[in-house]
């Protein structure tokens, strides 16, 4: 066990800097999301007016906000809600996008043309503006943020899968499977899709980053998750007002955490792209 852990550490140590950082940070984020709310020193919702707006110190590592809430505890607690929101959105767009893309890419003809049009339409929107529109229509709730984020991310998966399936439709190995009278759904699922796992993992990781940004952006302008629930975007928005009176820590720490989370998934996507390249395995 210790041997294995040591081996893992050595492996990570041998990675390029960005990749090593992303793997470690990914683990940290997952752990924080899992146990963060139980280990933070203060109740993230407890207001203590007497200790409002204290700068970072040993008792309050990231300081306190205008209501005396501990920013460190709030920042850590927010990890779960931000990651779960993004992850739910990415999973929805991965599943629906992949299914629609695979069907469209294989069938070709009118189905392909129609779905391509629909995705072009969605992508023709400046996506954040679309997300604002959708979230506004759906009402202020986490689920509307998730749905809005899923809808704007879905075309990326659908497009990629469609292109890859379409390209492989005429590959020799697919034609060999057709010659062996293997039914089309099986060919797509078991002969083509395994080749798409690496690019889809990369795409999912990158989209996680975008989804986190998207969800935080929506809450920043007041859509979706509502105060007092701790969420990075809201906390930055709250803190922005106090920046002009010199209380920089209120917006800085949640913003940094948000940035770290996005950076983790962006770098992880890059690292996955390198690792999963089949040519490198030889």
């Amino acid at each position: 066990m210790a041997e294995a852990a040591l081996g893992l550490i050595r492996k990570i140590g041998n990675l390029p800097l960005g990749a090593a950082f992303s793997v470690v940070m990914f683990a940290v984020l997952v752990i924080l999301a899992a146990i963060g709310p139980y280990v933070v020193p203060y109740d993230p919702l407890a207001t203590v007016p007497a200790s409002a707006m204290q700068p970072p110190s040993l008792t309050h590592w990231f300081g306190t906000d205008q209501l005396g809430r501990d920013i460190f505890s709030r920042t850590i607690t927010a990890t779960r809600i931000d990651l779960v929101t993004a992850l739910s959105a990415v999973l929805i767009s991965l599943v629906t996008g992949t299914t629609i893309g695979a069907v469209a890419g294989w069938s070709g003809r009118w189905l392909d043309a129609v779905s391509t049009r629909v995705f072009d339409t969605i992508m023709a929107f400046p996506l954040f503006a679309l997300a604002v529109g959708i979230a506004a229509a759906l009402g202020n709730s986490i689920s509307s943020v998730i749905i809005a984020t899923a809808i704007v991310n879905m075309p990326f998966f659908a497009r990629q899968v469609r292109t890859e399936v379409n390209r492989r439709r005429s590959a020799g190995y697919v034609e060999a499977a057709r010659l062996a009278r293997i039914p089309a759904p099986k060919i797509v699922a078991f002969h083509i899709m395994p080749n798409l796992v690496p690019p889809l993992m990369v795409q999912s990781s990158l989209n996680m980053g975008w989804a986190i940004l998207n969800a935080a952006g929506l809450s920043f302008i007041g859509l979706g998750i509502q105060p007092p629930d701790p969420e990075w975007g809201i906390m930055v928005a709250d803190g922005a007002a106090y920046m002009f009176s010199g209380e920089w820590w209120v917006f800085l720490f949640p913003g940094l955490m948000l940035m770290l989370a996005v950076l983790t998934f962006t770098l992880l996507g890059d690292a996955l792209r390198d690792w999963l390249d089949p040519r490198r395995a030889s």
Binding site: A171, G172, Y173, E175, A176, A177, R178, L179, A180, R181, I182, P183, K186, H191, P194, N195, V197, P278, R279, A281, S282
Partner: protein, 296 residues
């Protein structure tokens, strides 16, 4: 016994603005069990399309393909570039297993046996396509086609991407398998020399039409069609060259009432520009489509 009988095969591909690409036009031939037929022609002559029509990967727009077999996997295809033809996500073993068809997803004994018969080391079976050499990839592609014990093997330029030293080994392998298992071959190639070695009959295609069709020694020693002569004389290593000037006509909506080779033919006359030559039987099993056969 005739295994495959193809009559008046036609295939058109629709293009933009209502144009039609005439890929295969009125092609007829037959292959006896265990026989080898070579299909030669330049790129765009329709030779690969014929192979795909025979295997059912494309549907014909006219003509008949009658196959005298009982199984539905009797015709198998060996693809041009072996690397693209193997699934990069699968091991070589699984790649070969695909050839077994939908009902038998695995049969390790049979796969190992087939691999051995094409000269693939069993330890390579657990590797992935990019981990083996080009020659080994070609063998794996052949193994996949063979594993269902086909009666007709369509080979689409199976050695075009290989070095001569590897090509020689693969050609010998195909020839050996053909004799051992008495499989019929449809060998698609741009290389007449390879067809001469591998086949009993040859069919020369020009822009989707049959230019000449006959026993390979006769066609190669005394070609009747000027295009066959041009092909033969342009092969490297032949000193006396008959050059055919110019470029081929477009296969898109070609003239229906002309010899399509007329613009490159040294002996073309007005007749060639205005009437389409029919296939004429020169001798038993030897045909050519040219207006000026007696003169040439």
């Amino acid at each position: 016994m005739t295994l495959l009988d193809v009559k008046a095969l036609k295939k058109y591909f629709p293009l933009a603005r209502g144009q039609l690409l005439h890929a295969v036009e009125d092609v007829s031939f037959a292959i006896k069990a265990g026989d080898g037929l070579g299909l030669v022609g330049e790129s765009g002559s329709g030779k690969s399309t014929i192979g795909r029509l025979l295997t059912g990967l494309e549907l014909a727009d006219g003509g008949t393909i009658s196959l005298d077999t009982s199984t539905d996997t009797a015709v198998q295809l060996v693809f041009q570039t072996a690397e693209e033809a193997l699934n990069p996500a699968f091991t070589i073993e699984r790649n070969i297993a695909v050839g077994l068809g939908k009902n038998r997803s695995s049969d390790p004994k049979r796969i190992a046996e087939t691999a051995r018969s094409v000269g693939l080391d069993p330890e390579l079976l657990t590797r992935r396509p990019h981990q083996i050499s080009g020659g080994q990839q070609a063998r794996a592609g052949i193994a996949r086609a063979l594993v269902s014990e086909p009666e007709l093997l369509v080979l689409d330029e199976p050695t075009a991407a290989l070095d001569v030293s590897v090509q020689a080994a693969v050609l010998k392998l195909i020839d050996r398998l053909r004799r051992e298992r008495s499989i019929a071959l449809l060998f698609i190639s741009h290389d007449l020399e390879v067809v001469r070695l591998m086949c009993d009959h040859v069919l020369v295609l020009y822009l989707g039409r049959v230019a000449e069709y006959g026993p390979v020694e006769q066609v190669m020693s005394a070609p009747a069609h000027p295009y066959t002569r041009a092909l033969l004389s342009s092969a490297p290593g032949k000193s006396n060259r008959v050059r055919s000037a110019g470029e081929a006509l477009s296969p898109i909506d070609p003239p229906g009432n002309a010899c399509l080779f007329h613009n490159r033919c040294p002996s073309a006359t007005e007749t060639c520009r205005t009437s389409k030559p029919e296939l004429i039987t020169l001798r038993d099993g030897w045909q050519a489509a040219c207006h000026h056969m007696e003169r040439s």
